[in-house]
Amino acid sequence: VSEELNRGREVFREEACELLAELENCLLELEESPDNKEMIERAFRAMHTLKGSGSMFGFDAIANLTHEAETVYDLVRKGRMKVTRELVDLSFRVIDRIQVMIGRKEKGTSADNAEIEEIILSFKTFLSSSLTQHQEERKKFIPSGDLEVMRKETSVTYRIFFQPDPDVFLKGFNLILMLNELAQLGRCTPVAHSDGIPDLEQIDPEACYTSWDVLLSTTKGINAVKDVFLFIENNCQLSIHSIDRSGILDSEEAHKHLSSILFERRELNEQDVEKILSAGRSADVLHKTKNRESEQQSTAPLQKIANSSTAQLPEVSSIRVAVQKLDKLVNLVGELVTVQARLSQAVAFRDDPEMHLIAEATERLTDELRESTMNIRLVPIGTIFNRFRRLVRDLSNELGKEVEFFTGGGETELDKNVIEKLHDPLVHIIRNSIDHGIETPEIRIKRGKKRSGMLHLSAEYSGANVLIKIKDDGAGIDPEIIRKDAVEKGLIKEDAALSERDILSVIFLPGFSTSEKVTKVSGRGVGLDIVKRSIDALLGVVDIQSKKGSETTITMRIPLTLAIIEGLLLKVGNNQYIVPLSAVEECIELTREDTAAAHGRHMINVRGKIVPYISLREIFQTAGNSPEIEQIVIAELNGRRIGLVVDHVIGEHQTVIKSLGRVYRDIDLVSGATILGNGKVAIILNIPKIIEYMESEEMTGAETN
């Protein structure tokens, strides 16, 4: 059971995280519109569930904490209290606390406890100050007679009169079970009175007309007897009297005698009891044998009416799966894709139509399987967007700024792993925007802007990528200041001819920090290079645009998934390379004449546009001579186009990305490798890095000229 309990706790932790997120969203909504009934209801429910489940799984501190919060929100829900700023702040503290508590298993430090105490106290004072007349009902009913059992040596005999309400069956009661329960307590003799049953014509088969007199001799105490009727006590007439405490009536004869009296007269007076009691010793009890109906129930046969239509609702069901299981599935699918490629290749060289069919069917299935598997891992990015609302709120409070936060495209789906890795970079960028970008209300008004700044966070699909944009209408970035700074720090040369865009991208270099002063919020000595590195790790690209004085937009372009991509397979000498198909614009031929016409410059005219190109043979120093006609693959990224010169373009390839391992960590022109159908390895090219590499080559080339 303890193992089961632990598993339950794990589920609870996950669930608690979701509930806390839900609560947080509700609170943020409530802060905007304190009378939003639906949000109040949802907040209450979240706390209620947290409390209930928390105490089930032994998180008593969580239960205590949420109990107070729940009490307050219950009153809010009933319209007896208002949502105030203080209440929302206090509730946020509850969320933070619980997050700490579930993260740190059961035991908290004494400092935790102190804070919990303090929060609870705050809630209580909150309650008493805003609602003096409120009195909490604290009745606790736990139907367990065992807790109060007083073991008595001698049994007590009770006379119980019990008349259920006619509609008692419609409350789900089973009277036989109750009589059985009584019988388990000791010697029990029920007497049923059927005289209330009407004539057949008037009978309602669903109603109860019977009442009972029960003689019960038990040692379990009155509470155990009352517990039997715990649920039904408001749906019946019930009287329980003890008629003897000496134990003498606890005999078959005594029960028989008394029950027959009850059956005849429905009354039991003191003389009757006294008579039996005195006679009890003489063991000569009058026998009267009369029919005794013991247990009776008027459950008439219920007609089963054919099922009428029940509300048809769209099926929305989901299951929770551990991420590791999904990762494993993705890996397996990756392997399968590789094997399938081998199969296709092996079959291609055979004259075996049947095998061809099988290979094609396998390919189709594998494609579908791959697609579906990737889909499983996709989650809407809105899940992390919501987390930032809290961040924005706290930050702007802390910095004395007013920020309106908008999100868009929250339904855009990305690989779960990717989304999680996006969290930190986004936090970094948002911090920067609020800290350095958006001005204080005073300055904004002086500059003729709206008092509160705007921060837009949005996501959208763009081919096989997702674009995530963070836009603020703050001070923008002055390229001149960046340039000066960068020159001072030796990041760029003083006379380097750089476009504004290039200068702005300097802020992503390690060692660069835009802030003039170090603040608590974003000046932590780490620049935006962290962001760039994280996005690079996701094979993404980050780009910045800014209008001095009015806005800054940071755009991140992230591939949909990390595990399998559509690639274009290229060949140079004996080496094979993969370029993500999403980056490829077109392939054109490069003849010797073209090269000669360019006079040694690596430029080609593509329908009127000059595109610089670079030979993979040169980059990777491949042995051998290039063929007469080479191929140029034109890749495009953020408006920059480059050409990659290769010997042959082989074709599309489902690429399962494998990392190259630590040894190749520093080679950034390559983002991974894949295994081809024939078992050979192909290198996956990192296009953004190659573009950077080319540009730096050009620059150094320009300088040496």
């Binding site: 339950g8 949802r42 089930m56 799984f57 419609l170 408001n234």
Partner: protein, 128 residues
């Protein structure tokens, strides 16, 4: 002719929006030999019951879409299920809700937090 109900395994439907709660109750009741199914809220419960044999319902009060009280009302008007016991889950701060549940037709209640023993004793009490 009376069919002995005790002979077949009894089916209990747990209705709670908390997965951990459902899991806990499910485990306890399954271990005690009951046939258990789960639903996330009142709507879901009604959908899942649809014609299936269900002998008892354990339902939370606070749930999205359809709460436990509304569910109880609905079940009490349903020809197939109107006689089955319904136990509602409450917390001690909700005794007014408990009353509301009772008048909607709930058979009994369990106060959270409860132990597996308490749960079993309540189920035995109303279902046998």
């Amino acid at each position: 002719m009376m069919i002995k109900e005790g002979m077949m395994s009894k089916r209990i439907l747990i209705v709670d929006d908390s997965a951990s709660m459902r899991q806990m109750i499910n485990f306890t009741l399954s271990a005690a030999g009951y046939d258990v199914s789960e639903a996330e809220d009142g709507m879901d419960a009604l959908k899942k019951m649809n014609g299936e044999p269900v002998h008892m319902i354990i339902a939370d009060i606070n749930m999205p879409n359809m709460d436990g009280i509304e569910l109880t009302r609905k079940i009490r008007t349903h020809a197939d299920y109107k006689f089955i016991p319904i136990i509602i889950l409450t917390t001690e701060s909700q005794s007014s809700l408990k009353q509301e549940g009772k008048s909607a037709g709930a058979t009994g209640w369990i106060v959270k937090p409860f132990s597996p023993e308490q749960l079993i004793s309540v189920v035995k009490k109303v279902l046998g």
